[in-house]
């Protein structure tokens, strides 16, 4: 294989990197003196064109290639996840076009795209070295994105916390992965599984697995490694927070599932989290993380007064549901995980978009700042209604089908004695709890009246672009919920066609 072939495989990533260069060049060379709004529009257009270019390329090319022993795997499944990531990136960029927190427009957009490139490589990697490098590319871009509002001390705090926790988690991951390499003598995931097979649960392997789980646990904000999430979500500029909550989640969960299911395959390493058939291994560990995340995330979200923190804790809870899909690791669960993560990403980006509108209009993002929103901005409120109900898991929205799919995969994996039923019951019970706090948000928007303070009841005037993007996201959430097969069918074909 020569470099031209490699470049061919990495065309989507290359397109996005070129977009980065164009954005930077355009902004630094041509747009210096122009008004910020205009710079955002031009830069954003270029960035979106790059993303769309990547998506189109992946849609028309049907490559099936595994370059350099898992360094870069291109198959329909990774293509699908990358398309989803780029779509989330586009939405994030579109929603950031109205922001006013920075004058470094080019750098900002470039970093978003670089983070996206990192995620794309991450998704394609089946090699622990490559996984680590792409993880770092993503994370470093995201740390800076979180700190981008230089005028706000909270943004700096968010970024520092995110960075310190992220750095720790990277250290854990690296340590775990190096132990894995030491045990197996290879960096390729399937080969690792082959080398570890039959050796049983070596104490060193236990440490390695725990380290890896801790590292990824930080990335996906699973309890007890979630502490950075509320602060990062609260302090970071809204589009950055949205991207951390959506794109980064999708990519991290995908690679987490891949590392566990491919790298640590084999009955004696997996163990079992089933009720009567407990066996040590990574499955029970992840099962416990899932249970803790669901319980703590949902219960703590109830008492939040800041909507961003509420979304953060709800994100922790949703991480719990997605971990449930990793625990089940059967043929259906990977599809359910991807469906869940992608639709969750779309919903969260939308929810942050609404938060941004409210922040611009009222200067705050407390629950009380949402009071009476339905009469100040009806379209945006309706979108928020859809997003919150989808997060709560109300049919026929995408969030419901995602949960349903994950839960049925989990019950199937424990069949015939329904061993994972305990975890599913917990998850369903907790999602009933979650309705309470999502309804709190909607209650402010639809039920409560606006403050009597002068000027408080004026209509907010979100720009047409924002409204269109939010409406589009809401529509996607409805359509993907009513016709889940659009996505599921695609994912299942992708999984079925790959060697994975």
């Amino acid at each position: 294989m020569n470099f031209l072939d490699l470049l061919k495989l990495a065309v989507p990533e290359t397109i996005v990197v070129l977009a980065v260069l164009f954005v930077l060049a355009a902004d630094l060379v041509a747009l210096r003196g122009v008004e910020r709004r205009f710079r955002f529009i031009i830069g954003g257009m270029i960035a979106c064109v790059g993303c769309v270019g990547g998506i189109v390329w992946m849609l028309i090319s049907h490559t099936h290639e595994n370059a350099f022993a898992g360094m870069l795997v291109v198959d329909p499944l990774t293509q699908f996840v990358k398309i989803a990531l780029l779509a989330l990136t586009i939405f994030t960029i579109l929603l950031s076009m109205e922001s006013d927190f920075t004058t470094h427009v080019g750098e900002y957009l470039a970093l978003i795209l670089l983070a996206a490139v990192g995620m794309m490589f991450l998704v394609s990697a089946e090699d622990i070295l490559m996984i680590f490098i792409s993880l770092e590319l993503t994370s470093l871009s995201l740390y800076i994105l979180a700190a981008f509002n230089k005028r706000d001390i909270k943004s700096a705090e968010a970024s520092l916390k995110y960075f310190l926790f992220g750095g720790m988690s990277a250290a854990f991951t690296l340590f775990g992965l190096s132990l894995v390499y030491g045990l197996s003598g290879t960096t390729n995931l399937p080969e690792i599984a082959a080398a570890l097979a039959g050796k049983g649960l070596d104490p060193l392997l236990v440490i390695a697995i725990v380290m890896v789980v801790i590292g990824f646990g930080f990335k996906v904000a699973a309890v007890p490694f979630h502490l950075w999430a509320p602060d990062a979500y609260q302090g970071a500029p809204t589009p950055s927070a949205a991207f951390i909550a959506s794109g980064s989640k999708v990519a991290s969960f995908f690679i987490f599932a891949k590392v566990m299911a491919i790298g640590f395959a084999g009955k004696e390493i997996e163990g079992s989290g089933a009720w009567h058939a407990y066996a040590p291994g990574w499955v029970p560990v992840v099962a416990i993380l899932a249970a803790l995340s669901m319980v703590l995330g949902n219960l703590v979200a109830i008492v939040q007064t800041s909507v961003r923190r509420l979304i953060a804790y709800s994100a922790i809870a949703h991480a719990g549901y997605m971990l449930l899909a990793i625990v089940s690791h059967n043929e259906q669960s990977l599809a359910s995980l991807i469906y869940y993560a992608v639709t969750y990403g779309l919903t969260t980006v939308g929810a942050f978009g609404v938060v941004a509108v409210v922040e611009q209009g009222t200067g705050g993002e407390k629950l009380s700042d949402f009071a009476g929103l339905s009469r100040r901005a009806p379209v945006v409120s309706f979108c928020m209604l859809i997003f919150m109900l989808s997060l709560a898991g109300i049919p026929p929205l995408a969030g419901f089908f995602g949960k349903f799919y994950v839960f049925s995969a989990a019950i199937k994996s424990g069949a015939p004695d329904l061993g994972l039923l305990w975890l599913v019951i917990l998850a369903v019970a907790m999602s009933a709890v979650s309705l309470y706090y999502y309804l709190q948000v909607l209650k402010q928007i639809y039920v409560n009246d606006v403050d009597s303070a002068p000027g408080a009841g004026n209509p907010l005037k979100p720009t047409v672009l924002t409204q269109v993007v939010l409406a589009l996201l809401a529509l996607l959430v409805i359509v993907l919920g009513c016709a889940p097969n659009l996505l599921i069918g695609w994912i299942l074909t992708a999984i079925g066609s790959g060697p994975a």
Partner: protein, 491 residues
């Protein structure tokens, strides 16, 4: 054609959302039109219905990878409840004619709720049924929280959480049944053929049954009902008691009992006792209430006890009585709530029975008084009204299945007479001295819409009471369908 009851309601939601702001009269008219269309479709389907058949309405693959179908169909039971939904929806809109605050939103939520309810009654795919069941939860919350009265946010949230917890239990049971059966289908006709392992049924049945029965107001999970009814605006109380509680009972019959007959056989005595407790408890609590609306709220719990008891008798007469009681109570409770919430409360602004007693309402608003007297007679189960036909059958069925409990049911009816007479006397025929009665401002007259709504509901109750065969002829043969094979196996 029946599927259009669902579509028409949701189209109505869209139309209402697109209407210009501030034109309340237009919103009302549009809402009424869509509700009438729904009722019209129901009646048209009823006239073409042949007893004993299951009308296929729609059946297409929805999510092939999970074997989920978009399967709508109707048997006599579904059709009865569709008719109930249509009548209650029309009457509810007539009684909400005075809503001026955010009118179009009100009716949008209202029609969304109605659409969800139609969907539940027509779904033969359990996944689809569950989807519609949950769609109905959200509008209830907003209708009560925005347009309600006493402690509306509390009542609304309580109702939403109870419903959601119930549906969560149902969801677990459904997925487990789907996986255990291995049928790769959620179709109720498919799943009903499969006989689930005994041990599985023993825990799955109560899980799903209670999940649905929460919404049916089964004691001790009924506590959402009185607070919800009291907090809700009139139309919402009418729908809650009239239709939403039936969703729960319908789910018990169509899902829990059909899928898990062995579990049913093991648990039926237990749930029959709970049903009796509900009848007696609801009636006795209603006897001592000071708030007019709480009386009706608790009476709903009591009357729904009859439905659950009828279901547990497991004989044809008891079951058909239960279905007829669902219909009958839907109409009568709607009427009672209309009198209390719309005619009385909106004019006197009090529901306190002691205050009402001094007002001499029978003179101030004779129409309301007459309506309430008729509704009370129907509610007490006087022959000639639908309540009699229904509760009589339930008691006969219970007599066969649980002779001891049937006696207690009779006691429940007696207490029912007592609280109804008490509240009637206090609210309308209290002793007033002339001066005080005139001290109150003159009340606005009963509007034509209210009269129309009241006449509609009274007429339905009377017709079904005098000719119960109209409905029984389609309900009873339904139990002969293959869907009810379990019934013949158990008895």
């Amino acid at each position: 054609m029946l599927a259009w009851t669902i579509y028409i309601s949701f189209i109505g939601v869209l139309v209402l959302m697109l209407l210009p702001k501030g034109n309340a009269a237009l919103a009302r008219g549009v809402a009424l039109m869509f509700a009438l269309l729904g009722l019209g479709i129901g009646i048209a389907a009823f006239t073409q219905f042949k007893a004993g058949e299951i009308v296929a309405v729609a059946d297409t693959s929805w999510v092939p990878s999970l074997g989920i179908h978009y399967h709508l169909a109707a048997d006599g039971i579904s059709l009865t409840l569709v008719l109930l939904t249509g009548s209650a929806a029309v009457a509810g809109i007539l009684f909400s004619w005075n809503i001026e605050h955010r009118t179009k939103e009100f009716f949008a939520f209202y029609l969304a709720l109605i659409g969800g309810v139609y969907g539940v009654f027509l779904s033969f795919d359990l996944f689809l049924l569950f989807v519609f069941y949950e769609i109905a939860i959200v509008p209830k919350y907003f209708i009560i929280a925005i347009w309600g009265s006493t402690r509306r946010e509390y009542g609304a949230m309580k109702l939403a959480l109870y419903s959601f917890i119930g549906s969560a239990m149902v969801l677990v049971g459904l997925i487990a049944a789907y996986v255990v059966s291995g049928a790769h289908s959620f179709d109720v006709t498919e799943l009903a053929k499969y006989s689930f392992p005994h041990n599985f049924q023993i825990w799955a049945f109560p899980l799903v049954f209670i999940g649905f029965a929460i919404l049916a107001g089964m004691w001790p999970f009924h506590t959402w009902a009185p607070t919800g009814h009291v907090a809700a605006p009139t139309a919402a109380s009418m729908l809650l008691a009239g239709v939403v509680m039936k969703l729960g009972a319908y789910g018990c019959l169509r899902v829990a009992m059909t899928l898990f007959p062995d579990g049913l056989a093991a648990w039926k005595n237990f749930f029959a006792v709970l049903a009796i407790i509900g009848i007696l408890y609801g009636a006795m609590v209603a006897l001592v209430q000071k708030d007019f609306k709480f009386v009706i709220g608790y009476s709903s719990v009591s009357h729904m006890g009859f439905v659950l008891l009828g279901l547990m008798t497991l004989n044809a007469i008891g079951l058909s009585g239960a279905v007829l009681q669902m219909f009958s109570h839907g109409i009568i409770a709607g009427l009672l709530f209309a009198v209390v919430g719309r005619m009385v409360y909106d004019r006197t602004h009090t529901r306190d029975l002691d205050t009402l007693q001094t007002m001499g309402l029978s003179k101030a608003m004779p129409f309301a008084a007459v309506t309430f007297v008729i509704a009370s007679m129907a509610s007490m189960g006087l022959p000639g009204f639908s309540g009699f036909a229904a509760e009589f059958q339930v008691i006969v069925g219970a007599w066969k299945a649980f002779p001891t409990l049937a006696v207690l049911t009779g006691v429940g009816i007696l207490i029912g007479v007592a609280y109804t007479l008490r509240v009637m006397q206090k609210a309308f025929f209290g002793e007033t001295d002339e001066k005080e009665a005139h001290a109150h401002e003159p009340m606005p007259p009963i509007s034509p819409q209210e009269k129309l709504g009241a006449v509609l509901l009274i007429a339905v109750s009377l017709v079904i009471g005098l000719f119960p065969r109209i409905l029984l002829d389609i309900i009873v043969p339904s139990f002969d369908s293959p869907l009810f094979d379990w019934l013949r196996r158990l008895s």
